[in-house]
């Protein structure tokens, strides 16, 4: 038990329950969902029933009233499903697309979107990235033009997780024809709005059970009350919540790395070459020791950031470090695990290849490694 510094008995009970749920209800389907390129909606509704989609949200909206560590526990233990895809889809739902609703939404918006999202009845997606604006969020071009009674939106989003199946999108668009950070706003858009067009579901290297969409807005009219938060403050509001998203992403990556390392350790104990289990070669044992050390270090950093975040601090630099390190460690663990399995690691019939493909995204999604370094360097004053 890790009860003590960061976790209470409640967290540990939650951990146990989510782990059991992930291992019994999700893990047996991980491969099948991977092949089908999607997982069923019941995962959301079931998790909603169990309260797992609203752990940190206030009870008045159907949430659990828990702290930020509840979501860390969720991300770590959902990794036990063996499906990075499910973990990512859930992270988008609870940690990315909906926090701005609680933070900036009106009561009606909370009732209309947050409450059903917590129940798992409405699936959410977050629309920031565009073909010409990935790392450089400030260069987005999707434009919401003020028209009588609301806005008319034109533009294009890409790489949108849950995009092909979501009921609503938390959308970042430009509301002034300016450039740069100012003049952007956030909207809540029902995906059945005329003009919201899912152009295609993208074919990915990993995370194949999570749907990723390219979406077009074609003269899409949305009403006044679709605006979330203050007009013109969109960039700042979204950037604020990206910090939480990055921590959850980091926790999920570490959870996945732990699972991968645990299973490859079993493999190295069983696989005999040159008359002994391969883990008895120092060349292997020391690398396992290094990987375990890195996991522990990355996890500690995630916990410390989560603690600060939970206590109202806003440690952008450290969160960027945690995201950078967790993503790198997770991929390194998967890559080494594949290596320790030799030719078998390279075969589709063993799950390590899936972990390897899934983990690769961590260094790109939610802000690339380079962008994390850029934030760290900037906050260190290196460019000042």
């Amino acid at each position: 038990m890790t009860v003590g510094l960061f976790f209470t008995e409640e967290h540990e009970m939650l951990r146990k329950s989510i782990r059991e749920f992930a291992e019994k209800e999700l893990a047996p389907h991980a491969e099948e969902w991977e092949e089908q390129g999607g997982f069923p909606d019941w995962v959301f509704t079931r998790m909603g029933e169990l309260g797992y989609l609203g752990l940190h949200y206030p009870e008045e909206y159907g949430g659990g009233g828990g702290d930020y560590f509840c979501n860390i526990v969720l991300a770590e233990e959902l990794a036990r499903s063996g499906s990075g895809s499910v973990n990512m889809a859930v992270a988008v739902q609870v940690g990315m697309a909906t926090p701005p609703i609680l933070a900036f939404g009106t009561e009606e918006q909370k009732q209309k979107y947050l409450v059903p999202a917590i129940k798992g009845e409405k699936i959410a997606c977050l629309g920031i990235t565009e073909p010409n604006a990935g790392s450089d969020v400030a260069s987005i071009q999707t434009y919401a033009e003020k028209v009588p009674g609301g806005w008319k939106v034109n533009g294009n989003k890409i790489f949108i997780t849950n995009g092909a199946r979501a009921h609503f999108m938390t959308l970042l668009a430009r509301t002034e024809k300016t450039k740069g950070y100012k003049g952007m706003s956030v909207f809540l858009v029902d995906t059945d709005t005329p003009g919201f067009v899912v152009n295609r579901k993208l074919d990915k290297v990993g995370m194949r059970a999570s749907d990723t969409a390219e979406i077009f807005f074609e003269d899409m009219f949305i009403p006044e009350d679709a605006l979330l938060g203050e007009e013109g403050r969109g960039f700042y509001n979204i950037m604020w919540e990206l910090q939480g998203e990055r921590l959850i992403g980091a926790a999920a990556a570490i959870g996945g790395a732990r699972l991968t390392l645990e299973s490859v350790i079993e493999y190295t104990k069983e696989r005999v070459q040159f008359g002994k289990p391969i883990c008895k070669n120092q060349a292997i044992a020391h690398r396992i020791a290094d990987l375990a050390t890195k996991i522990e270090a990355a996890q500690s950093l995630v916990y410390i950031c989560a603690w600060k975040f939970d206590h109202g601090e806003y440690p952008v630099k450290e969160i960027s470090m945690a995201k950078l390190m967790a993503a790198q460690v997770a991929f390194e663990v998967a890559d080494e695990a594949l290596q320790f399995m030799g030719g078998y690691g390279y075969m589709m019939e063993y799950p390590v290849q899936r972990a390897w493909r899934d983990a690769r995204l961590g260094r790109i999604g939610g802000g690339t490694d380079e962008i994390m370094r850029e934030i760290i360097a900037t906050t260190m004053g290196l460019y000042a």
Partner: protein, 264 residues
Amino acid sequence: MNLVVCVKRVPDTAESEVHIDASGKDIDKSRLSFGINECDNYAVEEAIQIKERLGGTVTVISLGPKENDEVIRMALAKGGDEAIRLEDEAFDGGDGFAVAKALAAAIKGLEFDIVFTGALADDDGYAVVPAALGELLGVPHATYVKKVEILEDGKRAKVGRELEGGLLEFLEIELPCVLGIQTGINEPRYASFKGIKQAAKKEIAIKSAADLGLDPSEVGESGSWAVLEKFTPPVVGEMAEILEGDPEETAAKLAAILKEKGLV
């Protein structure tokens, strides 16, 4: 319905290597994880489902140290109402009969219609507690129960017991009674976060042997009929032969034996 469910915390030995410890009377548990005994998990679920259908309360009882609170609280999180933990040095080293005596003493003070236990424990596998508990409480009992249906008058239950090959034997049993629950009777739920938060606030009543009106000599090792002497790995003897060598050799030896005995 007033329902009582007895739960045990056991080491998870399903996927770990098990070694006998230095005392020879126990296994080394230092690297094992612990959790609720598997059958007991189904027993908890059965009790909660009956409560949800017919109303009433579920009282969770466990004998053991503070660590057992973990399994008690999980049962509370799933829908249990009250909890009692029996803790006393005097309970140490007890066999199934001695454990049943302590549980019976705790249950006697409660109103109950059905007492649920697991059919057997994953660690020692004695399967004694439900039957002994029924006898000590002076009520009917059935074990390996895989179906429970409360009859309309609320005074009897139709109970299906699992026999060899999955056959069910049905019997009618009068309430109050003790039922030893078999795995697979239902689908145990996962604790919701709401349940977990409520469970964290509930009180677990701690009772010692004296609180239960038991003399220390009646319980624990001194109150046991069977005393554990030691664990041993299977001895190589007339009935057992352990094949040695690399896989090719052992496979060849095994094949030879099977052939020789006319088993293939």
